[in-house]
């Protein structure tokens, strides 16, 4: 019972918040575009790529992409660790 109340309350709060966001922002007309206009105007000359998504992903925000590859690496290593073949006695209930 208590759980249901918490669930409904959190649902309503989050939806109301996002509803306000949805009503305040306007689709198709961003308020400010100066950073992206810079990318579109100078991206070709500074990175040599026609695809501005790629130029943002790999050059202007390349460090994020390194982090993103690292996240994938984390997941692979994590999956490898929990499916590893364990020695006898390594998978103990206690300790």
């Amino acid at each position: 019972m208590k759980k249901t109340v918490v669930v409904i309350a959190s649902l309503l709060i989050l939806s109301a918040f996002l509803g306000v966001v949805a009503m305040t922002l306007t689709f198709g007309a961003p308020k400010m575009t100066d950073m992206d206009d810079y990318f579109l105007r100078y991206g070709q000359e500074q990175t040599g790529t026609n695809n501005q998504c790629t130029s943002v992903t790999f050059d202007f925000r390349g460090f994020d992409t390194l982090g993103e590859s690292t996240v994938l690496f984390c997941a692979v290593i994590g999956v490898a660790l929990i499916f590893r073949k364990m020695q006898a006695g390594e998978d103990h209930e206690d300790e």
Binding site: V7, S10, L11, L14, S15, L18, G19, V21, A22, M23, L25, T26, F27, G28, A29, P30, T33, M35, D36, F39, L40, G43, Q44, N50, N51, Q52, C53, S55, V56, T57, R61, D64, T65, G67, E68, S69, V71, L72, C74, A75, V76, G78, V79, I82, F83
Partner: protein
């Protein structure tokens, strides 16, 4: 004129995702709820960057100079890859738990107390 339909879709998707995460007891369904939430946030980011009438920000033989904002697309790409990694890890956890406990019901996966 699309009005704010994409943003409203974001709210609806968030609602569906949250209901799934909070109400369902099957671990796999909870993961699906998380994936729906991730789709909602990705849609939110992409919609933020849309400029009415804009084309994809790729200059190779582009039909027009008016382009949508590229940054949200880069952010969404990052967020999608993180979502894939998350799903892989949660699914592996669910597999191990199923092997050890014989169930993926979160009410029965509660051996840690306190």
């Amino acid at each position: 004129m699309l009005w704010n339909l994409p943003f409203i879709t974001v709210v609806v998707l968030t609602f569906i995702g949250l209901v799934t995460v909070l109400m369902k007891r099957n671990l796999i369904k909870i993961l699906l709820g998380i994936n729906i939430l991730e789709s909602a946030v990705n849609l939110f980011l992409v919609s933020l960057g849309y400029r009415a009438g804009g084309v994809a920000p790729i200059f190779t033989l582009a039909p027009s100079d008016l382009m949508v904002l590229p940054t949200p697309q880069a952010l969404t790409l990052t967020s999608i890859v993180i979502g894939v990694a998350t799903s892989a890890l949660v699914l592996s956890f669910a597999m191990v738990l199923h092997k050890k406990y014989g169930t993926v019901d979160i009410n029965e996966i509660r051996r840690l107390q306190g």
